[in-house]
């Protein structure tokens, strides 16, 4: 927005030397999330170690098992999100730039279907039609998390001020230069917000991978439920929640670093 100087004092205040804006990245508030997560995990550890675990619980509640399931879970989440980024951002750019309203509508409708269908449904359907295992779970996650990134890329590019676009064009930038030098940098915050949403989606939905034998922390939750071993269930659920919080925190951190200054 443009600020119009209206009063003498305002005029003076705008003339006062203002240092260039600096990102305040490392603040105390910034570290609230990891501290909270550490406290929760500490309490969980203290609670579990105070319990008398039976043989079934011992098979699950040990460092090796938990580390493997967490690794699977993270791998599913991160690889799926990376695939979404690689696929949905270019498609979003193409769709935003496409003059065809029909093409836009079709792409958005397909992405909507991916997300509107219950995640369990997508996973099971794919498993029936194709195969079980890690790859299938990955594909299901990609389908599910596609929409937020696609839509945010489109919105991010669409929302670039028409005047900024026109002055870029008026200065003699080619359409490609307008895209790479102006539109994409200005869309970065919106695209990253979509990616962040996708990441958090993936952490949650990756728990379903257990139904098609693709591992992850869903194994602990489902086993805990089926075998009525509540410590197992609780540890699985709390870990998923903590991962979601941490991933969101890391994404927010990256967002602040990558967002162009001046915005």
């Amino acid at each position: 927005m443009m600020t119009v100087v209206t009063t003498e004092t305002e005029l003076l205040s705008t003339k006062a030397p203002v240092p260039p804006a600096k990102h305040r990245i490392f603040t105390l508030r910034r570290f609230t999330t990891p501290i909270v997560v550490a406290v929760i995990l500490g309490l969980l550890l203290w609670w579990v170690s105070s319990l008398q675990l039976d043989s079934i619980e011992q098979r699950t509640l040990n460092w090796q098992y938990i580390a493997r399931r967490t690794g699977e879970h993270l791998s599913l989440t991160v690889v799926a999100s990376a695939l979404v980024a690689v696929l949905a951002i270019p498609l979003g750019v193409i769709t935003a730039k496409s003059p065809s309203k029909v093409f836009r509508a079709v792409v958005l409708a397909l992405a909507n279907i991916g997300q509107a269908t219950p995640a369990v449904g997508v996973v099971i359907l794919l498993a029936i039609l194709w195969q079980t295992g890690y790859t299938t779970a990955l594909v299901a996650l990609v389908i599910y998390a596609f929409l937020p990134v696609l839509r945010n890329t489109m919105i991010g590019i669409d929302q670039v001020d028409a005047n900024v676009r026109e002055s870029a064009r008026g200065m003699g930038m080619t359409p490609m230069q307008v895209l790479t030098r102006i539109e994409l940098p200005l869309a970065v915050p919106v695209i990253l917000a979509g990616l962040r949403t996708a990441l958090v989606f993936c952490v949650g939905v990756a728990t379903i991978a257990t139904f098609i034998n693709a591992g992850g922390l869903g194994d602990m939750i489902v086993n805990g439920l089926k075998l009525q071993r509540y410590p197992v269930l609780v540890v699985g659920a709390v870990l998923v929640a903590c991962i979601a919080l941490l991933i969101d925190w890391v994404a927010g951190f990256i967002e602040d670093i990558v967002t162009p200054r001046g915005l």
């Binding site: 927005m1 443009m2 600020t3 119009v4 100087v5 209206t6 005029l11 705008t14 030397p17 203002v18 260039p20 804006a21 001020d161 005047n163 900024v164 676009r165 026109e166 002055s167 870029a168 064009r169 008026g170 200065m171 003699g172 930038m173 080619t174 230069q177 102006i182 940098p185 200005l186 162009p260 200054r261 001046g262 915005l263």
Partner: protein, 347 residues
Amino acid sequence: MSDSTATRAANGAVSAVSTRSGVGITLDSVSKIYPGQQAPAVEDFSMSVRPGELVMFVGPSGCGKTTTMKMINRIIEPSSGSIAIDGRDVLSLDPNELRRHIGYVIQQIGLFPHMTIAENIAVVPRLLGWSKQKTADRIDELLTTVQLDPGTFAARYPKQLSGGQQQRVGVARALAADPPVMLMDEPFGATDPITREKLQAEFLRLQESIGKTIIFVTHDFDEAIRLGDRIAVLSDRSQIEQFDTPASILSNPANDYVSSFIGQGAALKRLALIPITDARLKAATGASGVPTVVADASLRDALDALVLAGLPAIDVVDGGRAVGSITIDAISEALGAEVPGMPPAGA
């Protein structure tokens, strides 16, 4: 006077800014019909703009003045007709290459928010492949020209600047590659009256020293009178109702449409364009302690001083010395002298 020293200093800084002065622009039977619309937005527009001339397009909103201007750098492609800059047909040039050699300033400025002021100004030089050093020198030079301290402003982002400062950067950015032609679409429209007047004065001073060929679109007739060498008063479909100097349009409006556009107080507006020295001055009264008016002011300033003083005549001073006195009669006479068929003042 401190003001005039400031002016001289600014002009001194400006003289190095431009090595290329303006070139002529010719529009010949240019029309624009938007697809799906019956009536053309611009119909059969022909105009010849002289090198170094500042031509104002004035007209109500939606009259097609902006469309006409934007066809010159092909932001809008004309449906028919031809446009030539310096004798070269713009429609045969690569539009991107063409635009790099035409300065372009729009009302909303359109500074790139993610780039610093220096980076904003460097856009066209970068597109043209200038060296880093040449670009950096140019940025310093231009910021100084638009009266922004390079040390303070170069590293700032647009949102840290006031509206008036952003508009100055917009002008500096358009001048970056020293284009012979500038297109300006209501560049001062979104600023408050005080800032606008200041920007207009600075702009006039700048144009005096750089002599670009400028097409300037505005809906503010007073702005057109103040800035323009010639004014084109446009009506619907960008029809030219009158194309003449501000003084001629004020003294001799071509038709009712132009008269209505001038509005009330045409005589007063004309007075602002005539220097005091054009009036027949009488002998200085030599009275002390009464208001005086400086010799390089306009007749409007003189009238203002006369009315305020309530005296039949006040002295005109040049460099502290009274060179004569001015009366209401002399002002009326000078105004009458602008009408053809009357003997000119001082004849």
